[in-house]
Amino acid sequence: MDSAEIINAKDKSLEHLRTIHGDDAETLIADARYGFISGLVKDILKKPATERVTATDRIDQLMLNRWLGIPLFLLILYGVFQFTFVVSTPLIDLINSGLGWLAERVPGIASGWLGSLLADGIIGGVGAVLSFIPVIFLLYVALSILEDTGYLARAAFVMDRLMHRIGLHGRSFVTLILGFGCSVPAIMSSRTIENPKDRLVTILVTPLMSCGARLPVYALLAAAFFTAFQGLVVFSMYAIGIIMAILLAWLFRSRLVPGESGHFVMELPPYRLPTITGVLAHVWERGWAFLSRAGTIIFCAVIVIWLLDYFNVLENIGRAIAPIFSTAGFGQWQPTVALIFGVLAKETVVGAFGTLFAGAEGVGGFGSVIGAELGWTPLVAFAFMVMILLYIPCVATLSTIKRETGSWKWTFFTIVYTLALGWIVATLIYQVGSLLL
């Protein structure tokens, strides 16, 4: 028979089968094969009454447990921060003494404005940010271990399961959790979420997942105001971030028309031991990113801050805006200025404080200097940290949001809502806290 006739006959057959069975012949045929095999295997294979499960399955019985899954996640996260701070604190002190030593050398080399630039601006500002390298390094070691072992996939899974129970369908956490590193790739990874409303909501709340750049700020303040509880306080920042992300996602979802959304099956990778090379590779990349940001954006921002401060312009700018934050307890020009520059890059907040207070007592241990100079109580520090957590994300994040949503409206909306949220929550914390304590 001639080919065209065969092809036609085939098409007719397929059409016919599709009408009767509502499916492609390919599916019907595959089903028949699988059915055949299934029957065959049942015939010839006897499995033991209790199938010996793999190590991965046994661990997952715990990690994915309906009741224990999330508490375990929080516990592990807490453990990560405890580890990070206990180990990094002596290292930070070491770096700070080194910086202090350097700062003392400056009067011998330069004086006047150059001396100030070097000592206050560069050593004080950029140096302050750099002093937190140990914290960043250790946190990323921990996070990359969590990821390489395969645990992070479980964390995302149990969080998305929780979201589903609250009525938030879709699989945001699988991408949100990447925000613990940096919001930018997390937002870009949301491209894989097909439902446009789910995707938009995910993008909007991603900045609330505390990113690596905020860590130096927390570290600075936690060390100064909560010395014994550093790990706990920083953990609480991440926890608040997660809670806010869930809350805001729920809020946004109910405002936007809810659409049909994703049911999904997740293939979790088997647990495995992370390799040292793998972990170091991640950490190296992140560490390098941190250093290059310190060298560029932060460096420039700090110089600008120093300049504006030197010419007494900064204080005026700060004082003009500061009153807004008095309800949250930090209505002073220095934190205000820090917040403004924090929109460039969150680490700049540390750089700003470093520059502004460098003169006061040398670079070492200037967290406490903040307390002295600004008269802050731990409560205020906490409120400020929450502000850092929630308010306007950095320009890199904003530009990513613009690119991924393709709209100025949502970018602007992000700026407004995050600022409002930060202000509201920080204020609440301060006001309620003041009444209780």
């Binding site: 095999i37 299934s38 613990f180 959304s261 990113a289």
Partner: protein, 84 residues
């Protein structure tokens, strides 16, 4: 069997992991993986590896915890006409 898989997707109460699904359907897990691959090829399911997108000129690329970690976040299967 294949249609049972699709039904399981539609009726799912929240995300399911592969082990659960294989228990639910009474199929060996690796056989299930084969069937999911077939459904993906047929375009009825979508397969996604989270975090693996090109982040070419993204400033956060080198801060990306996940890039190049080779699918440490596992794989996600979804119905292909999700959300439409």
């Amino acid at each position: 069997m294949l249609s049972e898989i699709l039904k399981a997707f539609k009726q799912a109460e929240g995300p399911i992991d592969l082990n659960e699904l294989s228990q639910q359907l009474g199929t060996e897990r690796s056989a299930l993986e084969g069937m999911l691959a077939l459904l993906v090829r047929q375009g009825k399911l979508k397969e996604v590896i989270p975090g693996s997108e090109e982040c070419a000129h993204c400033g956060g690329r080198s801060s990306c915890l996940h890039l190049r970690s080779g699918g440490a976040m596992g794989k996600v299967y979804e119905l292909a006409d999700n959300g439409r």
